[in-house]
């Protein structure tokens, strides 16, 4: 084909990458299978897909009819919306009840007019449906955004043009450019690299951040430019769409030959092309057929625990409702049978079956239905709608919170569903992803140890804070613990010099220079060429050279500025290269065989290192080696790797710095840094060539033991090394992560880290986040080495893990030191056993006892399983937070899923219930909004039941006075308005605006958060007390009214009270009583609450007045009731006053008693704030702030405490050993 075409610029870039990769990427030289012998697996069911490349038109039609690339995650479309949404609505038991009531209200059975039943239901259902529609609309817009992305597609005759994603069809040839997402599942045909490899970032699929290499088949390599596709024609036969991300079975028929395909040629939708200018691919799976879409599960609808509890309350009330309806209907039957025949004024002989004395049982049954509707006020229809409204408003406040807005990504926090607001206030365990959530996947070169000397003065925050505290204590500042809460604040000091225990002087300065990305190293001894003046400049030089040469990165020179950036496979490598550049060893060019480095010191020069071999990094080898030849012909082996690997391979005289380096490595590790050890070895020409011959032989062996052989050969070379030093790279945490974890820990939350990364990395991050610390006992659970997996081995592993778990549990049980903390670290393989049915409870038991839990190398599915285990095993509320598609399972499984929206990729956010831009926003989301929302909803629901019981029961009492006939004492309109207007706005204002303490106090006193997980405000005792309060109010309202308006005149001009007057008085009393009650419940009155509470009462009078002036046909007996009969009667106002007070006395007394003698935390804080004590006695305030935290063993503060205990212990020992003076420490 057109292989001969040369485009010079491109050629430069095109390196023969396969030469660099010695093992993993070694190409299998298997010949393409014979065309007559098709792959066997592709006949049966499940493997029926046929893709005719470059003929997209064929696939939309029969017999193939593959879907287009249009994706839709919406629940409804225009046609299905109404039936489906209505069906959804009536899945709520309460709504079905109201629907039945509404239908029955059309018959004469109903005690109310039909409109009074149908209108509220229509309103409630309509509102919920509107909300659904809104949410679905936003999903639709999201989909459209994705569908409208553009990709370059082959339009025929070798011309490519941009086309929207949703128009891509199966069989299309697309050209994807660097940093673009793949629009569908593609078969890789060729790439900008000559050998058809490309780099793919699959973070959205599995959360792994390292780049993966995909490679095209040799057969399709010639398809390397647009024109090549003019006549391109091939057929792919492969498996049907399925959700397995790591498998692919199929073959390609191209130019009359059949080639087998494997997963390494498949580019999955939602992964991203990296480090490669472009690729060509042919579309295999589109839209919902693509692997990632097949993987997506419909997000389960979640309900908060308060809401589920509310359901049980509804059931209680429903039982009560049925009970009183039964009483009522039995009473009615009895009255009808024995009383009604004598009540001539009802003309019993002409009565229909509803009132027939001859058929009392039938009438009773009819009446039962009537009663169910009549007492329906016990089950507040408006509760659902009010809660819905309140939650939407709460969500709006969450979205609007400026302090959860992230300036960098420009994203505010977003409550994607409003169902779970109050659940945020009850979280017990947080399960967090690591990469992208805790860390930003950016590495910073921070420290290094060369020749036994530690360089780099950036000191970890723990050390600084601990040192400060000790200093303040020694200098005699009063009080214990009193400045702990201020650690973070005090960092603002311009600079401070602290003598650390280790003798290292740390200088903290504010960053004045512009920071170089990936390089936070500060030490004048090495920078600006000063290293040449150090003791061992030779070793230093070697160190820098290893950094600059031993890697697989490619430099990219910006032609305008001449500055160099690096495309590295892992971010660590990038950080090394930047560090090397800053030290004066700038790697600027790579060719097939050489690496070019510009050295500035001691004399500026450009050096070329010929790369003889490159033994690349793998998780098993944990090291990387290059063998280079410098300009003088000297062959050098340069190696970097995990300390354990390197230290095992040192030569006798290579161990000079071993002890010092080891010490430094431990220090770095404790500070949460990622460490690597660097070593080298000088080689003789002859020594090398013997080895190389052997190596080449091993490499060309064909057979199953080729890899083992290779490894053995390589291993012989990587021995007898000379240690140079070690590097410490900071896996940069996101802003505010340690602080946030600290606060969350103080709020009593447990934090588990679930990461796909390897154990070492996870542990480093654990240290950096203060989830781990020195002195914490680490329980590490892992599997034995398992190369052969038969049934017995599996059993043996299980037993082994059980043993490890029970041993650890035993150890924890026997631990006496109250400060002892344990950390559980488990890897994915062990976890897969630990999550099996018979082990999981042991595992959970152990995990719960540990202060922190870190699971490494876990698959997305395991994340979800762990989440489920915690959720179901502990019965507590779990929150999962993650940023990638690999976290989706966990996010969906947890009670609350939080997605990090600051990064690219939307899967996690789409699946989440809340999205925040950064991990640190969780603090405010939980401690402030969660706390508020929990209390608001809890109080609101309690109050709702109170008010409806208070109102509903009066209807029942009145029944007893009407022969249980189902007559209500109130006008229909009063009852409609009761829930809809007269009492709804105050409740909503309670649910939206109530604050027990302001947000800054919430943050200062994280312990307040525990009120939620302990469920202080929504336990059955409290609910029952509120119900009893409702019962009491109903009794007071009804019977005092009956007593007052019995029979005699209620005015000085002699009129007696009729039903309308009495009903109106009672209703007025209820309105006053419940509104006063809610104002007692509130502790925070803005003008809104005042407006709503007093406005509701005023509205009632206004309504009554207006209603009375409507035509008597509408108002009936309520005509002029306020203006003429009740208004001028003093007894009306006096009754209202007396009953309002009487209804509220018990609650007020209870409130006062609790407040005065058993105050809760927020009461005391309110008082302190209210009396401005916090300003007058700042010392007390700070002290309490620092104490206001849960007993926790994780987090920064706990770590500082531990460090202080440690230092103090040391000090004490020193003092006592010096002279036995023990008085000082006490």
């Amino acid at each position: 084909m057109s292989r001969g075409k040369i485009r010079a610029k491109l050629r430069q870039e095109r390196l023969r990458w396969s030469k660099l990769y010695t093992f993993n990427c070694a190409r299998s030289n298997a010949e393409p299978a014979d065309a007559t012998e098709p792959f066997n697996g592709l006949q049966g069911p499940g493997f029926s897909r046929t893709v005719r490349c470059n003929q997209p038109g064929l696939h939309g039609r029969k017999p193939l009819s593959y879907p287009s690339n249009y994706i839709s995650t919406t629940k409804y479309n225009i046609i299905t919306f109404f039936p489906k949404a209505i069906f959804e609505q009536f899945r709520r038991v309460a709504n079905v009840y109201f629907l039945l009531a509404a239908i029955l209200s059309l018959t004469p059975i109903a005690p109310f007019s039909a409109v009074s039943m149908i209108a509220p239901l229509a309103f409630v259902v309509g509102l919920s449906m509107a909300k659904e529609a809104m949410e679905d609309w936003s999903r639709f817009m999201q989909d459209m955004k994705v569908n409208k992305r553009k990709v370059s597609t082959h339009k025929g005759n070798g011309i490519f043009g941009y086309r929207q994603w949703h128009k891509i069809l199966v069989g299309d040839v697309v050209k994807v450019e660097k940093d673009q997402f793949f629009p569908a599942d593609l078969l890789l045909l060729s790439s900008s690299y000559e050998d058809g490899i490309c780099y793919v970032e699959t973070m959205n699929l599995d959360g792994e951040t390292n780049l993966k290499v995909k490679r095209a088949m040799d057969a399709t390599l010639p398809l390397e430019d647009d024109m090549a596709f003019k006549d391109f024609n091939a057929t792919i036969r492969c498996e049907d769409p399925n959700p397995s991300l790591y498998t692919f079975v199929g073959n390609l028929e191209y130019e009359k030959q059949v080639y087998p395909l494997d997963p390494s040629q498949i580019l999955l939708r939602d992964s991203k092309l990296r480090n490669t200018s472009y690729i060509y691919g042919v579309v295999i799976f589109t839209g919902h057929d693509s692997k990632v879409m097949q993987n997506s599960t419909e997000s389960p609808s979640k309900r908060s625990s308060i809401e589920s509890k509310m359901d049980s309350i509804i059931y209680v009330l429903f039982t009560l409702l049925v009970l009183i309806s039964m009483i009522s209907s039995i009473g009615f039957a009895v009255y009808t049978k024995y009383g009604m025949p004598h009540w001539w004024y009802l003309q019993p002989k002409n009565a229909s079956s509803l009132y027939s004395p001859s058929m009392p049982a039938l009438s009773g049954i009819f009446h039962f239905v009537t009663a169910l509707i009549l007492y329906g006020y016990l089950i507040p229809i408006s509760l659902y709608v009010s809660i819905e409204v309140v939650k939407v408003l709460q969500a709006m406040f969450i979205n609007q919170d400026i302090q959860m807005y992230d300036e960098e990504s420009g994203k505010p926090a977003h409550a994607r569903t409003s169902n779970l607001n109050e659940e945020l206030g009850q979280v017990d365990t947080i399960l967090s992803d690591k990469t992208g959530t805790l860390t930003c996947n950016q590495m910073d070169f921070l420290k290094c140890s060369i020749a036994g000397v530690s360089y780099g003065v950036g000191s970890s925050e723990v050390e600084i804070a601990a040192a400060k505290h000790i200093a303040s204590e020694i200098s005699g500042s009063p009080g214990h613990n009193c400045f702990q809460a201020d650690y973070w604040d005090k960092k603002d000091d311009k600079s401070s010099v602290i003598e650390l225990e280790s003798g290292v002087t740390c200088r903290i300065e504010k960053d004045s220079k512009t920071k170089i990305n990936g390089f936070s190293f500060k030490d004048d001894r090495l920078l600006e060429g000063n290293w040449t003046k150090e003791l061992n400049p030779g070793t230093l030089l070697m160190f820098f050279r290893i950094l600059a040469v031993c890697h697989t990165a490619i430099p990219e020179v910006d032609e305008e500025t001449g500055s160099v950036t690096y495309e590295a496979e892992s971010p660590d490598e990038g950080a090394f290269l930047i560090a090397a550049r800053e030290f004066g060893f700038e790697f600027y060019r790579r060719t097939q065989a050489s690496v070019f480095v510009r050295e500035s010191y001691p004399n500026p020069s450009e050096r070329e290192f010929k790369i003889l071999n490159l033994l690349e990094f793998s998780s098993k080898r944990k090291r990387m080696t290059v063998i280079v030849q410098d300009e003088s012909g000297q062959i050098i082996l340069l190696c970097k790797g995990a300390d354990s690997m390197i230290f095992d391979r040192l030569s006798k005289n290579g161990k000079i710095y071993e002890a010092d380096t080891m010490k430094h490595l431990n220090e770095y590790g404790e500070a949460g840094l990622r460490t690597l050890a660097l070593a080298y070895k000088m080689l003789d020409e002859s020594e090398y060539s013997t080895w190389n011959a052997e190596f080449l032989r091993a490499k060309t062996t064909i057979g199953p033991d080729r890899d083992a052989q290779l490894e053995q050969v390589v291993d012989t070379m990587e021995r007898e090394l000379v240690l140079v030093g070690a590097t410490a790279v900071e896996d940069k945490l996101q802003k505010g992560v340690p602080q946030c974890i600290d606060k969350l820990a103080q709020a009593g939350l447990k934090i588990w880290v679930l990461t796909g990364d390897k154990m070492e990395t996870a542990i480093n991050i654990g240290f950096a986040c203060s989830l781990l610390r020195q002195g914490m006992k680490q329980i590490s659970i892992s599997t034995m080495n398992t190369d052969f997996l038969n049934q017995d081995a599996k059993k043996a592993i299980q037993d082994n893990i059980l043993l490890q778990i029970t041993n650890a549990s035993q150890m924890i049980k026997l631990e006496k030191d109250p400060h002892a903390a344990f950390a559980l670290i488990i890897d994915g393989k062990a976890l897969s056993y630990a999550l099996e049915d018979d082990l999981k409870h042991h595992f959970l038991g152990l995990a719960v006892d540990c202060a922190s839990v870190i699971c490494c190398r876990v698959s997305p599915k395991q994340k979800a399983l762990v989440t489920r285990l915690v959720k179901e095993g502990t019965g507590k509320i779990t929150l999962a937070v993650g940023d990638g598609a690999n976290d989706v399972g966990m996010i969906q499984e947890a009670d609350i899923g939080v997605g990090i929206s600051g990064v690219e990729g939307m899967q996690a956010v789409m699946a989440s219930d809340f999205s925040v831009a950064q991990f640190r926003c969780l603090e405010r989301l939980l401690v402030v909004h969660g706390h508020w929302c929990y209390k608001r909803i809890a109080q609101m629901v309690c109050y709702f039941f109170y008010k409806n019981i208070a109102f509903g029961l009066t209807l029942f009492y009145f029944e007893a006075y009407t022969g249980f006939s189902g007559q209500s004492v109130y006008e229909d309109w009063y009852m409609i308005l009761f829930n809809v207007i007269l009492t709804s706005l105050p409740v909503i204002s309670l649910g939206v605006f109530e604050q027990d303490v302001p947000s800054d106090v919430c943050l200062q006193f994280p312990a307040l958060y525990q009120q939620g997980p302990k469920n202080l405000f929504f336990d059955w005792r409290r609910i029952m007390a509120w119900m009893a309060n409702g019962l009491y109010s109903s009794l007071i309202v009804f019977f005092i009214n009956i007593g007052i308006f019995r029979a005699q005149a209620f005015r000085s001009d002699g009129q007696t009270a009729d039903m309308a007057a009495m009903g109106t008085v009672m209703f007025t009393c209820i309105i006053w009583a419940v509104n006063m009650q809610i104002s007692l419940t509130m502790s925070h009155f803005t003008w809104m609450q005042h407006l709503f509470v007093w406005g509701s009462i005023a509205t009632w009078y206004l309504f009554l007045f207006g209603y009375g002036f409507m035509s008597p046909v509408i108002s009936g007996n309520a005509f002029h009731v306020l203006s003429e009969s009740l208004g001028p009667a003093p007894i009306y106002w006096m009754t209202t006053f007396a009953i309002t007070v009487a209804c509220n006395v018990p609650y007020f007394a209870h409130l006062s008693y609790q407040r005065l003698f058993h105050p809760l935390d927020h009461h005391v804080i309110q008082e302190i704030k209210g009396l401005r004590k916090d300003l007058m006695d700042e010392h007390m305030w700070t002290r309490e702030r620092s104490k206001a935290r849960q007993e926790t063993k994780i987090g920064f503060t706990a770590r500082v405490d531990a460090k202080i205990r440690h230092l103090k212990g040391k000090l004490q020992r020193k003092v006592s050993s010096l002279g036995g003076i023990s008085s000082m420490a006490s």
Partner: protein, 353 residues
């Protein structure tokens, strides 16, 4: 003071100018005290002083009002005379229903009442029925307000079953069970000295009812013409708006025992006066065993005689006084300093450090 994340410290003002990229900042929430939930608020705190003073204050207000209400109730003079048994001739005592349903027996009956205390005019005359379910749903619904009000709507009889139309289908005005069972006992009063006491039956109903609910051009039609005669009859020549007994009756009572205004005697009565009442005992309460009472009563500013309101006020006041004392005592015994941090949960659970 803020120990929170750095963005918390950034605050609303400092960020105003930051962010070079305006498009990016379009998602930035707008700052307002409302959206940030920082509206100025009044946060009342229940201090012991407040609690005790509120209870005391309620007591101080309630007890005098209660006393005043009791006094008002005691000023009211009320004469109640139950007559439904006494007015049955002794020979019919065993067959009261037969007696009341027999139109040939005279229903006249004479009662003598004694005035126990001076009664100032106006003296209100009530009839009181007992065990009469005027609030029964079937009864309450059995009326049509449109028909009562509007001459042209005479055919509007929906809801009036079974007293809708006569047997030939012409509508009854006023229709329905309420009107049909109109109370029809009558009373006339003579003082001991033979002076007739006129009963003023004007303005015993609500003015609004007369003016707006019962039409001045609507006349009773076909009323009590059916086979079954319920209660009182109406003069077909008098418009409904002037049939005040009907208007009063149509205001259905809330409870099975109720009083309705019959008229006013606008003469002062003196203590020990005797009053002879000649009544027609027409209304059948015997079927359902209901009592009938004739009530003469004066009113106070609070209405008729009823101690309940006063007692309620005094008891509530009393309870509040009691609570005030209780809180005072408990507070003196076990005082708590306001805002005392030692009551915070973290200071209680952990013991001393």
């Amino acid at each position: 003071m803020m120990s929170s994340t750095s963005s918390a410290a950034a605050g609303p003002i400092s960020d105003a100018g930051s962010g070079p990229d305006a498009r990016r900042n379009s998602k930035r929430p707008k700052y307002s005290r409302f959206t940030q939930q920082e509206l100025p608020a009044c946060k009342p705190i229940l201090t012991p002083q407040w609690v005790i003073s509120i209870f005391t204050l309620v007591g101080i207000i309630f007890v005098p009002i209660g006393v005043a209400a009791l006094l008002a109730s005691h000023d009211v003079v009320e004469i109640v005379d139950r007559y439904e048994t006494a007015c049955v001739p002794s020979n019919m005592a065993d067959n009261k229903i037969g007696y009341i349903q027999n139109p040939n027996i005279s229903k006249a009956c004479t009662r003598v009442l004694k005035v126990t205390k001076d009664m100032d005019k106006p003296i209100y005359v009530y009839y009181q029925l007992d065990n009469f379910y005027q609030n029964h749903r079937r009864y309450v619904k059995s009326r049509n307000d449109q028909q009562l009000r509007d001459k042209s709507k005479a055919n509007e009889t929906s809801g009036c079953d079974p007293e809708k139309t006569t047997s030939d289908g012409t509508p009854i005005v006023p229709c329905g069970l309420i009107a049909w069972s109109l109370f029809n006992d009558t009373y006339s009063f003579t003082r001991g000295n033979g002076e007739a006491l006129t009963v003023n039956k004007k303005d015993i109903s609500w003015k609004s009812d007369r003016d707006h609910k019962f039409g001045s051009d609507v006349f009773p039609k076909n009323f009590q013409n059916g086979g079954l005669v319920g209660g009182g009859k109406l003069d077909p020549k008098i418009p409904l708006s002037e049939q005040e007994d009907l208007i009063v009756w149509m205001r259905t009572a809330a409870l099975p025992t109720f009083r309705k205004l019959y008229g006013r005697i606008e003469v002062d009565l003196k203590e020990n006066d005797t009053i002879t009442v000649v009544l027609e005992n027409n209304y059948n309460t015997y079927s359902f065993g209901g009592k009938k009472k004739l009530v003469l009563s004066t009113t106070s500013w609070l209405g008729g005689k009823n101690d309940f309101l006063g007692i309620a006020y005094i008891s509530i006041g009393g309870v509040c006084f009691f609570l005030a004392t209780l809180f005072t005592v408990v507070y003196l015994v076990k005082p708590r300093k306001l805002g005392d941090p030692s009551y915070l949960s973290w200071n209680n659970n952990r013991g001393t450090q």
